[in-house]
């Protein structure tokens, strides 16, 4: 179980604005819904669910389980300006793999918020005993790809013409992986053969 005592946390951005990071709670439905309504259509095209419908966000709030999905919100006052989620599985073959997703309000991009949220997810992943964090990003979302790479994610694979948007367009999907300290694939991890 991830220790959430570190929240709420104040995070200052490069431009001096201070935001609050904290996990989403049930009372956040309306502010999160408003946040998603302001997401540009070109970003919404790649969402897995129709977040313009309030009942979708309401369902997330009704089924909140931080052990499965931990949504961290970035708030300026009462307004949500960023949403980062860590998805995990309790059992099965991917229980050591966390999937991360980040969405930033258009007027908060290019201020370091995306990087700060990825840094936060990386910390949570390290503290939750995961071996890998995985991010899936459409190749055209260059800023997101760069934010993940800046934080140590490696491009594991690019699937050509792999996913479709809501209008039927086909896009390349970039899968990025971050190897945790406890990853068995970590080249810096001592091996038994060396005696170290």
């Amino acid at each position: 179980m991830i220790d959430l005592e570190r929240y709420p946390r104040q995070i200052a951005l490069r431009n001096g604005v201070t935001l609050v990071f904290r996990p989403m709670c049930r009372e956040d439905v309306d502010r999160l819904w408003v946040f998603f309504q302001r997401v540009p259509p070109e970003d919404k095209m790649f969402f897995r669910q129709d977040v313009s419908r309030r009942e979708v966000v309401q369902h997330w709030a009704d089924t909140l389980d931080y052990d499965l999905v931990l949504p961290i919100l970035a708030l300026e006052g009462g307004r949500v300006v960023g949403d980062a989620t860590l998805h995990r599985q309790r059992s099965g073959w991917k229980q050591r793999v966390g999937v991360v997703r980040v969405q930033i309000a258009p007027d908060y991009r290019h201020q370091g918020l995306g990087t700060a949220m990825v840094r936060e997810l990386r910390h949570l992943g390290e503290k939750s005993g995961l071996h890998y964090l995985m991010a899936e990003v459409i190749e055209e979302q260059g800023a997101a790809v760069r934010a993940f790479e800046k934080m140590g994610f490696d491009r594991a694979v690019t699937f050509r013409n792999f996913v479709n948007d809501r209008e039927g367009g086909i896009h390349n999907l970039v899968v990025l992986l971050y190897r945790m300290s406890s990853s068995p694939d970590d080249p810096r991890r001592p091996t038994g053969a060396s005696g170290g």
Binding site: A12, L13, R14, G112, T115, R119, K127, G152, P187
Partner: protein, 160 residues
């Protein structure tokens, strides 16, 4: 261009050519751009290397070797700071920096040496930013301090 003009008496930053630029502090001590900032010595240590002569196109082998050893000392300082924090992501970045530095060998004319040294410095920067993030502070921006250094060019400047 060589050497350090003075050390900040407050944070220990190695500064060059600018004691007069920052005006005077009470008591006549020179101003320091890092004074009062969190992890001032680590920021200053990073920037002194970041803007160091080893990164110039015409750097001499001795300057590259000096830069190499300076990065080693800088990583040791970060390690000391991280030791008092429960920050596995930061420790991981430091490990990556040490691995990169190990791969560089300034005693030989290796084409990759500068790249590995630059990688080590980038990972070190990330570890400092991990520490700052835990305090809720924005990442360190070396270019904000460039006027304090004899910056001619930064061949490997970060993309963002």
């Amino acid at each position: 261009m060589a050497g350090t003009d003075y050390h900040c008496p407050h944070c220990g930053a190695e500064l060059r050519g600018g004691a007069r630029k920052g005006g005077s502090r009470p008591g006549g001590a020179p101003g320091c751009p890092y004074d009062g900032m969190a992890y001032a010595a680590l920021r200053a240590g990073h920037d002194a290397i970041y803007f160091g002569s080893w990164r110039r196109i015409d750097a001499l082998p001795t300057e590259v070797r000096r830069g190499y050893h300076r990065i080693g000392r800088h990583l040791e300082a970060i390690r000391s700071e991280l030791a008092s924090h429960d920050l596995p992501a930061g420790a991981r970045d430091l490990d990556a920096a040490l691995s990169a530095l190990q791969a560089a060998d300034p005693r030989e004319e290796r084409r990759d040496t500068l790249r590995f040294m630059d990688n080590a410095l980038s990972y070190a920067h990330r570890a400092i930013d991990d520490l700052l993030h835990e305090k809720g502070l924005p990442p360190h921006q070396p270019m904000d301090f460039s006027e304090w250094y004899d910056v001619v060019e930064v061949p490997f400047r970060d993309e963002w």
